[in-house]
Each structure stands twice: as structure tokens, then as C-alpha cells.
């Protein structure tokens, strides 16, 4: 007898309902939390989208990226330009950011699609350093000061009652929820499966009718689109799009978040985002009263050591490690 097992993953509809519930919880919950936490929540949401974009590209499609910050920059600058030059409403610029970054990703992906491993890492690294430096040189992009990107206040009569942080948080959280739902849609569809197949064995995938080059460029494009969204969310929290916002350190931080959360699952991204936002703050506050040198360098050392430790102990991320542990017992 042939039984068609239902997949263990919830269907798209279930996912959407789940997302709605999460959204409502966040919406209601945001009224009971202090402003600073809400602001940090918005940051976490922005990082979350960035990490998701890395998980898609590196975790699923197997293309390593050290320069996701550059794609975020492309998205953010496009959005800010759209406001500045054409006076477009802010909400449209979120789409523009996604499209612009995706387009850019497609172009870069066409060349990067031929590279692998450290060669790709090298190219993305150079890109990550190059883009902010370039932005600095192009006058229309506002130099070091960058461009303003202000999502403003809640509309109409809510402008006075809803604090700007809540407004910011809602927008960033909405972006993050949409991003996660779409990302999960992709990874649980044939598309995600194809990416993983190409990652695992390019030749075998080709013989199954998948065009590996196309598949890789597609992953690059989609991931860049997410990065673009991360970029605007991120810029919304700063109110500004500037070269110093998209340093190599940002790209590395996101990658770190992706690894710590678990690079092979979208589910880890939230954990990763929380870690990269919260952990440094915690250690900084510990060492605040220490002497100058110690206060300057100790937090960095602790965070780095923690990072090393977690990679050595759970390279797949905490969820996978727990899973393995459970299987053992």
C-alpha cells in the first residue's frame, strides 16, 4: 500500500496564520515594554532580515558571502534616493529597496555564480569594502553624512499617541515577519530543495534538469532582495543611510549571527539576531567601570571568545546541537 505522508512542515496557510498570531502578539506586547527595549526590538527585527538573507544564500544555496552589508547598502541608498530625488512615499521605497538590491544581486550573482568557496568569499569581501567607499565618492549619495531616511510618525491622529519607537518597531517587525514567512516558503518549496541540491552536488543536480548557474544566480538575487529589505529596516532605525553604517564589521556581524543561530535553518535567525544585538551590550555594561584599556578591549575579547567557543561546540547552531543531544539519549 502506498501512503502519501504529509510533510511535517506546516503548509503555507498555516504559516501565514502563525505569522499573523505572532504579529498580533508583538503588536499588543509592544505596549507593555519600555521604549528602549522596543527600539532594540526594531534593531533585532532589522538584523533578523539580514541574517535570513545570509541563511538563504549560504545555508541553503551554499554560496558564502562576506559582503551582505554591501547589498543592504544598495537597498538603503536606493530607497533614500527615491525619497530624496522623486519624493516617493516611504512605504513604496521599501519595495524599491528590495527590487534594487535584487537587481544588483542578479548582476553580481551572474559573475559570482561561477565562483565557489574562498574565491566567492574574496569577491564578496572586496565588494563589501568597495561599495561604502564608492558611496562616499558619489556626490548625489551625500558623502559621509549620507542621506536622510526617515520613516516619520504613525499616520493621522495616531501620530501623537503612538511613540516613534513603537511605530519603528511595528514597521521593522512587519518587514521581518513578512521576510521570514517568504523565506520559509522558499525553503520548504521545490526552489529551496533545488538550491540545496546544487549546493550538495552540482553535476548530479544538472543531470536532474536543474541549471546550476541559473539556480545560483536566482539564490543570489533572492537573497539580495532580502538584504535590501534588511537595509531599509536598518536605515529606518538610524534615520540615515551613510557609508559608515555598512562597514565590513556589519557584514561580519550578520554572518556571525547567522552561524550562531544555525546557518542551515531559517529558524535560527531570530536567535542569531538577538545574540548580536544583546550580547555586546551586556559585556560592555559589565566592564564599564573598569580601567580604560580593559573597558575598551575586554568586551571584544569576551564576545569573540564566546563566538569561537560556540562554533567549536555547536557549529550547526544551538537548535541542531540540541537535536543531536536529544537523539543521543
Amino acid at each position: 500500500m502506498l501512503v502519501v505522508r504529509s510533510s511535517h512542515k506546516p503548509s503555507a496557510t498555516k504559516r501565514t496564520i502563525l505569522a499573523l498570531i505572532v504579529g498580533i502578539i508583538l503588536f499588543v506586547g509592544s505596549n507593555f515594554i519600555d521604549e528602549y527595549r522596543i527600539f532594540q526590538g526594531a534593531q533585532v527585527a532589522a538584523y533578523l532580515v539580514g541574517i535570513v538573507s545570509i541563511v538563504l544564500l549560504t545555508g541553503y544555496s551554499g554560496q558564502i558571502t562576506l559582503g551582505q552589508g554591501a547589498f543592504m547598502a544598495v537597498g538603503s541608498y536606493s530607497a533614500a534616493l527615491a525619497v530624496q530625488e522623486f519624493g516617493l512615499p516611504i512605504w513604496i521605497t521599501f519595495f524599491i529597496a528590495v527590487l534594487a538590491a535584487a537587481l544588483f544581486g542578479a548582476i553580481i550573482g551572474i559573475s559570482a555564480g561561477r565562483l565557489s568557496g574562498p574565491y566567492l568569499a574574496g569577491a564578496t569581501l572586496a565588494f563589501a569594502v568597495g561599495i561604502p567607499a564608492l558611496a562616499n565618492a558619489i556626490p548625489i549619495l551625500g558623502g559621509e553624512q549620507g542621506l536622510s531616511f526617515d520613516i516619520g510618525y504613525a499616520p493621522g491622529k495616531y501620530a501623537d499617541t503612538v511613540s516613534p519607537y513603537k511605530w519603528l518597531f511595528w514597521i521593522c517587525a512587519l518587514c521581518a515577519i513578512i521576510a521570514v514567512v517568504i523565506a520559509v516558503n522558499i525553503t520548504s518549496s521545490g526552489l529551496g530543495r533545488q538550491w540545496r541540491a546544487v549546493r550538495a552536488h552540482e553535476t548530479a543536480a544538472a543531470l536532474c534538469g536543474i541549471n546550476p548557474a541559473r539556480s545560483k544566480v536566482m539564490a543570489f538575487t533572492v537573497s539580495s532582495g532580502f538584504a535590501g529589505l534588511a537595509g531599509v529596516s536598518f536605515s529606518a532605525t538610524v534615520g540615515l543611510v551613510s557609508p559608515s553604517g555598512f562597514t565590513l564589521a556589519l557584514s561580519f556581524l550578520l554572518l556571525t549571527g547567522a552561524i550562531l543561530g544555525g546557518i542551515s535553518h531559517i529558524s535560527g535567525a531570530l536567535g542569531g539576531a538577538i545574540i548580536v544585538v544583546i550580547i555586546p551590550t551586556v559585556f560592555e555594561s559589565w566592564t564599564e567601570e573598569a580601567s580604560l584599556g580593559v573597558a575598551t578591549y575586554l568586551p571584544g575579547i569576551i564576545v569573540s571568545a564566546l563566538l569561537l567557543l560556540s562554533i567549536a561546540l555547536a557549529p550547526e547552531g544551538p537548535s541542531e546541537a540540541l537535536h543531536k543531544l536529544r537523539r543521543k539519549h
Binding site: 538610524v238 540615515l240 580604560l292
Partner: protein, 421 residues
């Protein structure tokens, strides 16, 4: 407001906040400013504080990254509920903070921002923000005036940092009526001087025939430029007059960079520095005769243990001295509003080490510079010997009025403890 307590002020404390680069690539030098301020506050606290209240400084590290700055300033205002922000560092970082934190909305006093970007001195846009440094435009105008006066027929070249800092400078030079020799306008990107060097630029400057060369960049770039120049024959076959902006001429840093602490390099270092001109608005940290410098060194030794005295410590202590006076002027029961209005009305009269007037009335910082020359021991002293001649101007790019300042610096309060009202 009536009834509601002023944030950051309790019966016996006043809490201030500061966000600056304590670590990361931009931090060296600047990361001494905050601790120096704290050291001075501790000194004051020991002397009874401000009307009995002890001053606490919360120091946050933003690594010179705008996102971090927003996060940290938000933390200071929303979480730590500081009374005022003091000495925040950086243009892009602070622009972001002004946008995405409640500085303006909650009227948080935002004192003595540590940047020369003139745009912050804009009471309409940023009613609570006060500058500290003279603007880059002022500096360039003063430099232009000095060069036109002292080197009237010489060909002038410039190396500037290719960003807003350098561009502000260029605008100032233009306003000052300075023209550059063909091929004598060279720029570098802020990250590239360490990785690609400045050979291309310095070679071009040399072949342009410039006799006076302005170095309008950060200190590390100045050092690379000087060193590259040495390789091109500076001091032997090539003898241009170098003149450096204040940002790129922090003497301690410059000396270290050039190798003053490395025996093999000392002689060459001093040779290449000797004779170079530089602009400053505070006394030289090496000027131990200066009453302010003297007192600050004293305080540094006891309250900032282990931190060597240098220009950055001077900057921090001087800021702290101004802040204490502002807090006193705000009254026995200070509010954010009273602090701002006190600063506006009385800031110009505060005692400080600065040789020019503090234009707090218009949210502007110091307004003048003096020109100094490095001698053969690596110490900077006024060009013509004796007291420094201070030039003053404003930040407008429209008129180039630069005048010798008539401002006389107030004397140091007794024992370095302000008693103003």
C-alpha cells in the same frame, strides 16, 4: 515640568551621558577624552560636587558607527535617563543620533559635540545641540588668510580627505580666496592611506611645484604624507612648507606615528616634523607654563591613573571644566531648560583653556585658531614666539572675514574649581 522630577538629577547626583568611539579603528586618541572628563568630574566631586551633587558620567562605546550611536544614545536617554549628553563624537554618528533618538523631542541638552562639522550649530534645527570645536570652514578660512599673508607669492597645494570633512575645508579655502597650483589639489579616501599609501598623491604634489602644502586630513594621513615626502627628498632636495589642520596634527599622536618612541626613528621623525606649521585652538599640551595645562596635568596624575598626559586628555578636561560651569549656571535645581538657557546666556564668559571665544549664544563652539610651528624637539610653539596670536572668523562661506582676535581668556578659577553662578 512641575512635580515631575528632572531626569538624571537626584538629591545628590547628576548623571551625564556620552557616546563615543571607545574601541575600533577610529578610537585611538579619542577614547581618552571620556575618561579624562570623568577624571575631572571626580576631582570636582571630591571638592563637593556641583551644589552638593556628584557628577556621574555614563560612557558608551559606539565604535564610530551610526547604528551603534543611535542605540547607545537611546540607551542613555531612555534607559539611563541621563540629564544631558556631553561630548558625543563624530559627524555621521551624531547626525544619526539626532534623527533617531529623543534628543530634540525631550529637549535633552547636547553639549559640546566633538566634531568640526558646522551644520550642528543650527539652533532652529537642533535647539539643544552645542558645538565645541571651531568648524572646519573657520579653520580653512583662517589658514587661507595666514597663507595669503605670510606666503603671498608662493604656489600652494593641498592634500585633503575626500569626504565631508575635506569638502568643508575646501569650501573654507575657497571662501578665504586661496587658489591652488595646477595639479596641486590632491585627495585621499579615509581608509586608503593606510593600505595604498599616499605615494601617488605626494608625487603629484611634488611635480606640481607647490611650495606651500596644506595637509587637511586625519593624523594618520598626515604622518603618512610626511613620511612619503621624506622618501621623495623632503628636507634634502625638496623643501616645501607643510601646514597641517588641527584634526591631523595632534602632536602626541603625530609623534608616536612618526616614530618618536622607536629609537631607530627618532632622529628622522624630528627632522621631518621640524618647521611644519599647524593650527590649534587650545594651548599645546606641552605648554606646561599654561595655568590650565598645569592644573589639568595635576588632576590627571591623581584622578586618571596610568593615562599619559596628552592633547586628548587636555581636550576632555577642558570640556569637563566647561560642563561644570554650565551646570552651576543652570542653578541649584537644574532643569534641562535651565541648563540650555544658562549656556546660551553665559557660555561666552566661562573660563576655559581655549584661546578664542566660545559662541554658545549661537550654539557655536570656539571661534578661533592660533598658528604654531614644530621645533626640533617635536614641541609646537607659537610661530613668532611669545603668546599665540589668535585669528577668529565665522562659519559662513560667503564672506572671508578673518581678524586677529581681541578676546582675552578668563583666568583659571582658583584650584581649578569653578564657583560661577
Amino acid at each position: 515640568a512641575q512635580g515631575a522630577a528632572t531626569p538624571g538629577v537626584t538629591k545628590d547626583t547628576i548623571t551625564l551621558g556620552m557616546s563615543s568611539a571607545q574601541s575600533g579603528a577610529a578610537s585611538p586618541g579619542y577614547n581618552k577624552v571620556g575618561p579624562a572628563m570623568r577624571a575631572y568630574f571626580n576631582y570636582i566631586n571630591e571638592k563637593g560636587g556641583v551644589y552638593g551633587r556628584k557628577i556621574e558620567l555614563k560612557l558608551e562605546d559606539d565604535k564610530y558607527v551610526p547604528t551603534n550611536a543611535v542605540n547607545k544614545v537611546n540607551k542613555l536617554i531612555l534607559r539611563d535617563k541621563v540629564f544631558a549628553l556631553v561630548g558625543n563624537l563624530g559627524t555621521a554618528t551624531h547626525t544619526a543620533a539626532l534623527k533617531k533618538t529623543p534628543i530634540i523631542k525631550q529637549s535633552v541638552p547636547d553639549l559640546f559635540v566633538n566634531t568640526g562639522y558646522s551644520g550642528f550649530a543650527n539652533p532652529k534645527k537642533y535647539p539643544t545641540t552645542f558645538m565645541y570645536l571651531p568648524s572646519y570652514i573657520m579653520e580653512a578660512k583662517i589658514m587661507a588668510k595666514y597663507i595669503k599673508d605670510k606666503f603671498p607669492d608662493k604656489k600652494v597645494g593641498i592634500l585633503y580627505q575626500d569626504d565631508d570633512f575635506g569638502k568643508d575645508g575646501l569650501a573654507g579655502f575657497k571662501a578665504g580666496g586661496l587658489t591652488f597650483v595646477a595639479g596641486g589639489t590632491q585627495k585621499y579616501a579615509s581608509l586608503s592611506q593606510a593600505t595604498v599609501g599616499l605615494t601617488a598623491q605626494m608625487t603629484a604634489l611634488k611635480s606640481s611645484g607647490a611650495e606651500v602644502i596644506i595637509l587637511f586630513g586625519v593624523t594618520s594621513a598626515t604622518a603618512v604624507a610626511m613620511r612619503t615626502a621624506a622618501g621623495l627628498g623632503y628636507g634634502t632636495t625638496w623643501g616645501p612648507q607643510f601646514i597641517m589642520g588641527s584634526v591631523g596634527a595632534d602632536p602626541t599622536t603625530l609623534l608616536t606615528l612618526a616614530g618618536a618612541t622607536t629609537p631607530a626613528l627618532q632622529a628622522a621623525t624630528l627632522r621631518s616634523l621640524t618647521g611644519a606649521l599647524s593650527l590649534s585652538f587650545l594651548p599645546a599640551a606641552t605648554d606646561t607654563e599654561d595655568e590650565y595645562v598645569k592644573k589639568f596635568i595635576e588632576i590627571n596624575t591623581t584622578y586618571n591613573k596610568g593615562v599619559p598626559w596628552d592633547n586628548n586628555v587636555l581636550v576632555g578636561m577642558n570640556q569637563a571644566l566647561l560642563i561644570v560651569q554650565a551646570l552651576r549656571a543652570a542653578g541649584e535645581n537644574p532643569t534641562r531648560a535651565s541648563l540650555i538657557s544658562a549656556l546660551k546666556s553665559k557660555g561666552g564668559t566661562f573660563a576655559s583653556a581655549g584661546y578664542s571665544k566660545l559662541e554658545s549664544a549661537n550654539n557655536v563652539g570656539y571661534t578661533g585658531y592660533w598658528v604654531g610651528r614644530y621645533n626640533s624637539t617635536g614641541v609646537i610653539a607659537p610661530v613668532d614666539g611669545g603668546k599665540p596670536v589668535v585669528y577668529t572668523t565665522d562659519s559662513s562661506t560667503a564672506n572671508g572675514d578673518v581678524a586677529v582676535s581681541t578676546f582675552t581668556r578668563p583666568a583659571m578659577p582658583a584650584d581649578g574649581v569653578p564657583t560661577n553662578k
